[in-house]
């Protein structure tokens, strides 16, 4: 700790930080643009000037940039010094000379960092009367609007997009006061993290296009803390609603999970909530004709099912509460996880490994600290996108290490990058196809899963001879030794695996981590990725072996004639034929869901449930972190939260359901820790979901009836569906939206952090549920995947896409624009030998399914990676080895929108 004096007051600060960070951490207002908590300082904008004095006698002082000056012990500075103030006012005036007169038609208006900083710096009237510099805009795809005139050349966009997120298609162009930030030509921004530009850019140059289509000012949105349901990372979000529809999602800071950034699936994939495909009323379907059901009738259907024996099939996309309520209704022995057998095995193993004291499942923030990473058979960018962004930071630990050795502070971003050039910490990717992380990988192995698992076991045995031995192919032996050595010498090695490679690969990952653990005292970081938002929660609720195949088999045996399916499309999770056959056998199929699926079409009773923004719920992410997601808006149809339908007790609400789940369900002890501590609220008042400037209260519904309805009362949560109550001034764990006086943008979050980029003042990062249990002991035995018997046919692996592989986000129009048709990746040699060209349409094996040929130069001969589209291909019906036959050339379906680094150019 160091002591510095700011405007005559002494503060305890961290000398590793710069002055700007410290001023903000201390809650002081100092304007800035180019500095970002995650990206460090470059001193580009000159807005953060303060006066620094040499010693107590020095009265003159000198202007310094706070973001470029370390907070050394004994520093004396002044923010309020008149010269510093005047300097800042001049800087903002010069930044604004070409700024257009756009605020009323700018989506950033009202949450614009530039507006805030202009006000704060004291620039009110335009004096400059010369011509303004103007720019042409570009089309940047379905997510982002471009309005270059509003740029103040802080360089944050390119520093985020290129330096932080590894993008290659956004750059600073031209020179002097003509600098331009855009692509080399119009086109879709390729990065999976492009949406963060909306928040990173302090002005309205990059704005949210999806939001713009049904725009509302920030102050008009009804908001609440929520959790992304796009994947198992569980990023924290703030969705906003207006006039009954969900308008947008922005980041909600959580120091351990997503920090300041989301992926584009999470940010733009919410619109299924507003979709026409939503199920809005309960129906009883008899011979294809449906009749509506009242709430009481639905309740009686469930009451009947409770007494009669029924099978309950849960869902990894449903909340803990919904799954638990279903389990209570049907009984534990009749509750099945709605996951394929293979995936369920992975999830169970996942939970087992997470409880093993030898391993530690790292949070996203901890992943950033890894200095040697091995990814085993997982396409991280497309399965758990936010983690891919964290991995891009982890490889920079080499640079940070070098900088530390030269005594360069970590926040000196340009210096640290310059010093390291392209030196990265090691990252080795084992994958069936080239991934989007290959550009930062030190080694890549692209081959079939059979080969990859073998390599993985070989790495384990190279680290610890006690591990089961495996013989890699001779050409891989050197790589195996190299990776083993990198992991052994790392300070904080990290192994990543997931269910894509199956349980075999997970066991190999565990062996490597265990081998590493032998040489150290602390647990080894083993990051296991699950597929969906609540895969882990469902895995904890379902008994072993209680997977979908078991449920279907039981139905097929005729043992049970009634089933309840909870928010799950079974056709996505098992072979279509088997699902259809089982459903045919049933006398009564009750489906509770919020959106129409192939399964809801087969329902005898269809019961509408609410989507993620319409109910309060908890989800458990890949780490076993339980997080609470509040209700944002009310659902004005017959839909109710699934657990409310399923629960026969009428006085239930989320809080006591959570308590009950914590008390009764094994492994859920501690879940209640995610509930807010209502005793800390001021005078027991609620927290408003609407801002203090929420407009139109007496007009928005006046067209229906001029007599305003009573404000909706939320009897369940500590938040109010109105402006009533007291917004929390300090506690961001329960906050409508981040806002502080003079700070209207999301950057106001610094007012809620104990230290900038650190924990929130109230902590509250969720509750880690997977408690360590007794050590499991030895290594897993070496159960190799069988090598193919013959060499004809391509070994098939499944490929994932960030836009399309997730069932719900794939219903959002903007995401749809980025989705590709099913494609199958082949090596050039395999394509040539089969007479296939880029873009050809082929039938897969003897099935009726077709896909577009995508020839990729880095595919291994003899293997193929198939992307099934949004369940356009039934992946469970395919053999592990396939042959392809050409059915036609279909350029229209093509691979439009497919972004891969190794598309084979020849002849396309």
């Amino acid at each position: 700790m160091a002591k510095i004096v700011i405007d005559g007051k002494t503060y305890e600060v961290n000398p590793a930080n710069n002055l700007l960070q410290e001023c903000l951490s201390q809650g002081l207002d100092l304007p800035y643009f180019c500095w970002h908590p995650c990206m460090g300082s470059v001193g580009a904008c000159r807005q953060c000037a303060v006066k620094q004095f040499r010693n107590a006698e020095d009265t003159k002082g000198a202007l310094v940039m706070a973001c470029m000056t370390p907070a050394n012990d004994g520093a004396i500075i002044s923010i309020e010094d008149p010269q510093a103030q005047k300097f800042r006012a001049q800087v903002i005036e010069s930044l604004m000379i070409s700024h257009p007169h756009d605020c009323p038609v700018c989506e950033e208006g009202g949450e614009c960092h530039l507006q805030d900083m202009t006000q704060m710096s004291g620039h009110n009237y335009r004096r400059y009367d010369k011509k303004k510099v103007t720019h042409n805009n570009q089309y940047l795809g379905p997510f982002i609007n471009h309005e270059m005139n509003r740029c103040i050349t802080c360089y944050r966009c390119v520093r985020f997009y290129d330096d932080y997120a590894g993008g290659t298609d956004l750059s600073a162009q031209a020179s002097h006061h003509h600098v331009y930030f855009g692509r080399h030509e119009e086109g879709v921004l390729e990065s999976e993290f492009s949406g963060n530009l909306v928040e990173v850019c302090p002005t309205g140059v990059f704005t949210d296009k999806v939001f713009s289509e049904h725009y509302s000012r920030k102050w008009d949105l009804q908001t609440a803390p929520s959790v992304c349901v796009g994947c198992a990372v569980g990023c924290n979000t703030t969705p906003g609603e207006r006039y009954g529809s969900l308008r947008r999602i922005v980041n909600r800071y959580n120091s351990e999970v997503n920090g300041y950034f989301l992926c584009d699936r999470g940010r733009f994939g919410f619109e299924f909530v507003n979709s026409d495909e939503r199920i809005r009323e309960a129906q009883h379907v008899v011979n294809g004709s449906s009749s509506p059901l009242t709430d009481a009738q639905v309740k009686s259907v469930f009451a009947e099912l409770k007494s009669a024996q029924a099978i309950g099939i849960g869902s990894p996309r449903a909340s803990n509460e919904a799954n638990y309520a279903l389990r209570c209704l049907v009984g534990e022995e009749n509750f099945y996880a709605g996951m394929s057998a293979a995936e369920f095995d992975c999830v169970q193993l996942h939970i087992q490994l997470a409880r093993d004291p030898a391993f530690h499942i790292p949070s996203v923030r901890e992943i950033e600290q890894a200095d040697a990473v091995l990814i085993l058979g997982e396409d991280v960018t497309n399965v758990a996108p936010r983690i891919a962004l964290a991995l891009r930071q982890s490889v920079r630990n080499k640079a940070k290490e070098l900088a530390a050795a030269c005594k360069i502070p970590q926040w000196q971003d340009a210096a640290v990058r310059e010093l390291a050039q392209r030196q990265n910490s090691p990252l080795c990717v084992l994958s069936p196809y080239a991934t989007r992380l290959d550009d930062i990988a030190s080694d890549c192995v692209i081959d079939s899963y059979a080969v990859l698992t073998n390599v993985a076991y070989a790495i384990a045995s190279a680290i610890a001879p006690a591990a089961p031995e495996a013989k890699p192919a001779r050409e891989r032996a050197e790589l195996v030794q190299r990776v083993a050595a990198q992991l052994l010498s790392a300070r904080r090695p990290l192994i990543i695996a997931g269910s894509s490679g199956g349980a075999v690969m997970l066991r190999a990952a565990a062996n490597i981590a265990k081998a590493l653990q032998g040489s150290r005292h602390s647990p080894v970081d083993l990051c296991i990725l699950a597929q969906e938002v609540n895969s882990v929660g469902l895995g904890m609720l379902a008994g072993s072996g209680q997977n979908l195949s078991a449920a279907l088999a039981r139905i097929a045996r005729g043992a049970e004639s009634r089933a309840i399916v909870l928010e799950n499309d079974l056709f996505l999770r098992a072979e279509h034929g088997a699902v259809a056959a089982a459903i045919d056998k049933l006398e009564q199929l009750v489906v509770v869901d919020h959106i129409a699926t192939a399964t809801t079409q087969r329902a005898d009773y269809l019961v509408p449930s609410t989507a993620f923004s319409e109910h309060e719920a908890t989800y458990i992410n890949y780490e076993g972190r339980a997080q609470l997601s509040y209700q944002v808006n009310r659902c004005h149809s017959q839909a109710q939260p699934a657990w409310r339908w399923l629960h026969t007790q009428s006085d239930m609400h989320v809080a006591n359901l959570v308590d009950r789940c914590a008390a009764e369900a094994a492994g859920f002890a501690g879940l209640q820790a995610v509930l807010p501590d209502t005793s800390q609220f001021i005078a027991g008042m609620k927290i408003p979901r609407q801002s203090h400037r929420y407009s139109g209260r007496t007009a928005m519904k006046a067209n229906l009836n001029v007599h305003e309805p009573k404000q909706a009362v939320d009897t369940e949560s500590p938040m109010a569906f109105s402006m009533e109550g007291i917004p929390s001034q300090k506690n961001a764990s329960i906050l409508g939206a981040a806002w502080a006086p003079q700070w209207n943008s999301n950057q106001s979050i610094s007012k809620f952090q104990a230290e900038v980029n650190g924990e929130l003042k109230q902590g509250s990062v969720g509750a880690l549920l997977l408690q360590k249990q007794a050590a499991s002991g030895g290594f897993f035995s070496h159960d190799l995947l069988a090598r193919p018997a013959s060499n004809d046919g391509l070994q098939l692996a499944i490929a994932y896409q960030i836009f399309g592989s997730d069932e719900l986000s794939a219903r959002s129009p903007a995401i749809r624009e980025r989705m590709t048709a099913p494609y199958i990746s082949l090596s050039p040699a395999d394509a040539r030998s089969r007479g296939l060209a880029q873009g050809d349409e082929v039938a897969i094996a003897d099935t009726k399914f077709t896909a577009t040929v995508c020839i990729r130069s880095r595919m291994q001969d003899g293997t193929a990676a198939l992307y099934c589209g949004a369940n356009e291909i039934d992946q469970f019906s395919l053999p592990t080895q396939v042959e392809l036959s050409k059915t036609g050339f279909n350029s229209a379906r093509g691979m439009r929108g497919l972004i891969v680094s190794d598309l084979h150019e020849e002849g396309y």
Partner: protein
């Protein structure tokens, strides 16, 4: 000693009451007469009121009455749906939704004022950056049915510029709309050629 003082005090008080009563009576009397006189004299003064509704009063242009939405000098809708009026409204009686035309102009998809709540404060007009929303001298807004006090854009939008004749927001703003590209607004240089390094 004490007793004497008390008696003296009492005497004092009686005197005071008498004086006050007397002066009150005098004042009241004179004022009554004066008032009667003035009322009488008013019979000969020109009336300030008019025989409303047979005769219409003169309303000053800046009177804050019925709200309208105006058009710019080119006849296009002025409102850009920026929501500032709604935000400024102390009784929250304005609600609207932004939409965009093919030309790139922002406009309100709907624009609703609940006049049964409006207090004619004029804050919306003051907040409006485009001079779209204006208060007019019309005050005759009584309705038998309260629901009729809810006005939609069709009811609010007039066919002229209202009080402010010349202002056209899009001529000043940097956003391009059909017919006004980048660099064509007031005080704008033509768009930069990013491929050039010339100063």
């Amino acid at each position: 000693m004490m007793q004497k003082k008390a008696i003296q005090g009492k005497k004092h008080a009686t005197n005071l009451v008498e004086t006050i009563m007397l002066s009150l009576f005098k004042d009241t009397f004179t004022s009554q007469v004066k008032t009667l006189y003035q009322v009488f004299m008013h019979a000969f003064v020109k009336a300030d009121t008019v025989e409303y509704p047979e005769e219409q009063p003169y309303m000053f242009p800046r009177w804050r009455g019925r709200i309208i939405l105006s058009r710019d000098p080119d006849g296009e809708e002025r409102c850009v749906a920026c929501n500032l009026c709604a935000c400024a409204c102390p009784v929250d009686c304005i609600a609207l939704q932004k939409a965009e035309t093919e030309d790139g102009r922002w406009y309100p998809e709907f624009f609703r004022i609940n006049f049964s709540r409006c207090i004619m404060c004029g804050f919306c007009e003051e907040a409006c950056p485009t001079n779209a929303i204006q208060l007019t001298p019309d005050f005759e807004m009584a309705e038998y049915i309260r629901q009729d006090m809810v006005w939609e854009k069709e009811d609010l939008l007039i066919n002229g510029t209202g009080k402010y004749h010349d202002y056209n927001f899009y001529r000043v703003a940097g956003m391009a709309i059909k017919g006004k590209g980048k660099g064509m607004a007031q005080n704008e240089a033509p768009p930069v050629n990013v491929k050039s390094l010339l100063p």
